[in-house]
C-alpha cells in the first residue's frame, strides 16, 4: 500500500469526525444492549430508562438452567458451516462460468440464479415444509443445511463472480497457451486469485444462514434442529412476556463466534485485490 499522502482539500479532521461518528453509531447500541443482558428484568422497562443498571446474571441463569443453549449453538454451527461448504462447491464453478465464458443463455441463467433470492420466505415456507416432510428430513440439521445453502447460493455466486471479473484475462491466457486445462486454471489460478472474494462471500453466506428464521421454525421441532435464531423466539412470547435480558444474552451468544470468525479473516477481507499481468 502506498504511503499515505494527503490530497489537496482533504481535511483529516472531517475524515475522523465522520469515521468516529459512525463508529459510535455502530458501537453504542451494541454496548447498551449488552447492558440489557446483564441486568434484572425489572430494570429493563421503567418509566425513565436506566443506563447503568444493577448488574446481575439473571438472564444467564435463565438460559443455562432451562434451555439447551449449547445444543442450539451446535446446531447453528453445523447447519451454517455445512451450508457454506455446499454453497462454495456449487458457486465457484458457476461463478467461473458466468464470468469467463460466453455462451447462449448466459444472462438468463445468471438471472435465474439471482431470482431465487426474491422469493418471499412466507410463501415458499409451506411447500418447502411439505417437500422436506416427504423426504423425511424434518427436524434434522441436514434439512436446515440444504435450505440455507439454497437461500444463499445466489448471493455467493454473484459475489464471487464480481471478484472473478477482476482477474485479468492475460493470466489465464498465458496459462492456457502453455497447455493448462480449464479445470486446472480454475483450481490453481483463479481460486487463489480471488480468495479474498471467496472468503468474503463465505462469511456473508454464514451470516445470512445463521440468521434464517422462518424455515428453521417450520422444519425444526425439537432441540435436534433448533438453532440460535429460533432460540431467541422462545423469549418473545408466552406467559412471561418479552424477556429482554434473555434475548440480549442469546443475541450475544450468537454474536461472539461470528465476531471472532470475522476478526480472524479480516486480513483477507481487506487484502488488496490487485492483480494484473504477469511481469516479465
Amino acid at each position: 500500500m502506498a504511503k499515505y499522502r494527503k490530497t489537496r482539500g482533504e481535511s483529516l479532521l472531517l475524515r475522523y469526525i465522520v469515521l468516529g461518528g459512525w463508529a459510535l453509531v455502530c458501537l453504542l447500541p451494541i454496548l447498551w444492549f449488552l447492558s440489557i443482558g446483564f441486568r434484572p428484568r425489572t430494570e429493563v422497562i421503567t418509566p425513565v430508562p436506566i443506563y447503568w443498571p444493577t448488574w446481575s446474571l439473571d438472564a444467564w441463569h435463565l438460559l443455562m438452567s432451562d434451555w439447551p443453549i449449547a445444543q442450539y449453538l451446535r446446531n447453528s454451527v453445523i447447519a451454517v458451516a455445512g451450508s457454506v461448504i455446499i454453497d462454495l462447491i456449487l458457486a465457484i464453478p458457476a461463478a467461473y462460468a458466468l464470468s469467463r465464458y460466453e455462451f447462449k443463455g448466459r444472462e438468463d441463467i445468471g438471472f435465474y440464479i439471482l431470482s431465487t433470492r426474491m422469493m418471499a420466505p412466507a410463501i415458499v415456507a409451506v411447500p418447502i415444509f411439505f417437500l422436506f416432510k416427504t423426504m423425511g428430513l424434518l427436524d434434522s440439521v441436514w434439512a436446515l443445511m440444504l435450505i440455507y445453502a439454497a437461500i444463499n447460493l445466489s448471493l455467493v455466486t454473484w459475489i464471487i463472480r464480481s471478484y472473478m471479473l477482476d482477474i485479468p484475462k492475460e493470466l489465464e491466457d498465458a496459462a492456457r497457451t502453455d497447455g493448462a486445462g480449464d479445470l486446472r486454471i480454475l483450481w490453481e489460478i483463479i481460486i487463489p486469485a480471488c480468495l479474498p472474494g471467496i472468503i468474503t462471500a463465505a462469511v456473508i453466506a454464514a451470516i445470512f444462514a445463521i440468521n434464517e428464521f422462518l424455515f428453521t421454525l417450520l422444519i425444526a421441532s425439537t432441540a435436534n434442529a433448533y438453532t440460535m435464531s429460533v432460540a431467541l423466539a422462545n423469549f418473545t412470547g408466552g406467559s412471561d412476556g418479552i424477556i429482554y435480558n434473555a434475548i440480549a444474552l442469546v443475541s450475544f451468544i450468537a454474536f461472539v463466534p461470528i465476531l471472532i470468525l470475522v476478526i480472524l479473516i479480516q486480513k483477507h477481507l481487506s487484502r488488496g485485490l490487485t492483480m494484473g499481468a504477469v511481469k516479465g
Binding site: M1, R5, R8, G9, L19, C26, P29, F33, V44, I45, A94, L98, E102, R106, G110, F111, L114, S115, M118, A120, A122, I123, V126, P127, I128, A149, L153, S154, W158, I159, R161, S162, L165, D166, E170, A175, G179, G181, D182, I185, P192, P196, I204, I207, N211, F213, S229, L232, Y244, I247, S251, F255, V262, I263, L269, L273, T274, G276, A277, V278
Partner: protein, 333 residues
C-alpha cells in the same frame, strides 16, 4: 494533462487488466504450476463439443440444486394461487385471487410501503457506506478496528429488531435522549405516526445492513489501481474531484451488483416489521412480505397469499432484469 487522465478513465469501462498494477496476487510460481512442462506433454486438446458444453457443465450442479429446491415451491405457489385455499380444501378460482388482489387497498398499500421504506433505506445505506468506505479504506489508523463498522451486521436480524424496538418503543431510550437535548417535550409516539414508524424501520435497517455494502465497497476500492489516483493526486487534484471522477466510475459495476443484492433483500423486509410494528399505524409500515405472511398465516388465505407473492416476484424480476442486464454488459467488455 489532468483532464486527459480523467477523461481516459471515465470513458473506459473499469477493468484492472488494462491498468498496470503492483505485485500481483498470483505469483509466477502459481502460473508455472498450472502449466505442465511443455516438453513432456503436448498441449491438451479438447473436442469442440466439450469446449462448448464446458460452461454448462460448470453451472450444472448449482442449477440442479436450485431447481430442485426452488422450482417446486415456485410452481406450487403459482398453482396454489389459482385456488381459494382454506386448510385442506382447495377451490378453483382461476384468476379470481389476482383480480381480488389488484383491487385490494391493502395490497397496494403494502407495495407502496415496501417501495418507500425500502427505497429510502437503500439510498441512505449506499450513501453512508460509500462515504465511510472511501474515508476508511486507505486510512492507516482505522485498519485495525474496522471491525467496529462490521459489528451491526453480525447480529441476528431478529436481535437487531429487538434492539431498536426497545430503544424506540418499549424502553423509551431514544425519546429520553431527545428529551435530554431538548428536541422534544415528552415521550415520542413512534408507532402512532406514519412517518415516525417508517423511520424506526429505516433506522434499524440502515444500522444493520450498511456494513454489507461497506465491506464490498472497501474491497472494491482496495482492489483498484492506485497509480491513476496517485497520478491525479500528484497533479494536485482535490479529493472530491478524485472521488467523483476516478474512484466512483471505477467502482460502478461493484456498486451496481452490491446495491442490487441489497435491494432484492430489502424487498423482502419482514423481521423488523414483524418485531417492531406489525404494520402499525393502520398498515402504513406493512411491507409486501408481511402482507403475504399475514394473508397466509393469519387470515389463512393461502391462495391469496400465493397470488400476491407471484405478483411480487414478477415485479421484482422486471426491476432486477434491467439492472442485471447492465451488470452483465459492463462485465463483458
Amino acid at each position: 494533462m489532468l483532464r486527459r487522465v480523467f477523461m481516459s478513465v471515465a470513458e473506459k469501462p473499469c477493468r484492472s487488466d488494462q491498468m498496470t498494477t503492483k505485485a500481483p496476487l498470483v505469483s509466477a510460481a502459481g502460473v508455472a504450476k498450472a502449466t505442465p512442462n511443455r516438453r513432456n506433454t503436448g498441449p491438451r486438446r479438447r473436442s469442440p463439443a466439450l469446449r462448448k458444453a464446458f460452461p454448462y457443465l460448470l453451472l450444472a450442479p448449482a442449477m440442479a440444486y436450485l431447481l430442485v429446491i426452488t422450482l417446486y415451491p415456485g410452481l406450487f405457489a403459482i398453482y396454489q394461487s389459482l385456488f381459494v385455499v382454506k386448510f385442506l380444501t382447495w377451490e378453483w378460482t382461476g384468476l379470481g385471487n389476482y383480480s381480488a388482489i389488484l383491487q385490494d387497498r391493502e395490497f397496494w398499500a403494502a407495495l407502496g410501503n415496501t417501495a418507500i421504506i425500502g427505497g429510502i433505506s437503500l439510498t441512505l445505506q449506499t450513501a453512508i457506506a460509500l462515504t465511510i468506505a472511501y474515508f476508511a479504506y486507505r486510512d492507516p489508523f482505522i485498519r485495525g478496528w474496522r471491525i467496529v463498522y462490521l459489528m451491526p451486521m453480525l447480529f441476528m436480524p431478529s436481535a437487531v429488531a429487538f434492539i431498536w424496538k426497545l430503544a424506540f418503543n418499549d424502553g423509551r431510550v431514544i425519546s429520553n435522549l431527545l428529551m435530554s437535548v431538548g428536541l422534544v417535550d415528552g415521550n415520542v409516539d413512534w408507532l402512532g405516526n406514519v412517518w415516525l414508524a417508517r423511520m424506526t424501520l429505516i433506522v434499524a435497517d440502515v444500522w444493520q445492513w450498511t456494513p454489507f455494502l461497506f465491506i464490498i465497497f472497501v474491497a472494491a476500492l482496495q482492489g483498484q489501481d492506485q497509480e491513476i489516483e496517485e497520478a491525479a493526486r500528484l497533479d494536485g487534484a482535490s479529493w472530491p474531484s478524485i472521488f467523483w471522477n476516478i474512484s466512483l466510475p471505477m467502482m460502478r459495476p461493484v456498486i451496481v451488483v452490491a446495491v442490487t443484492l441489497r435491494g432484492i433483500d430489502i424487498t423482502t423486509m419482514f423481521t423488523n416489521v414483524f418485531v417492531m410494528t406489525q404494520g402499525t399505524p393502520g398498515g402504513a409500515t406493512e411491507t409486501m412480505s408481511y402482507f403475504i405472511y399475514r394473508q397466509g398465516f393469519r387470515m389463512f388465505n393461502f391462495g391469496y397469499a400465493s397470488a400476491a407473492s407471484v405478483l411480487m416476484l414478477i415485479l421484482t424480476i422486471i426491476i432486477a432484469q434491467t439492472v442485471v442486464k447492465r451488470a452483465f454488459h459492463s462485465g463483458k467488455k
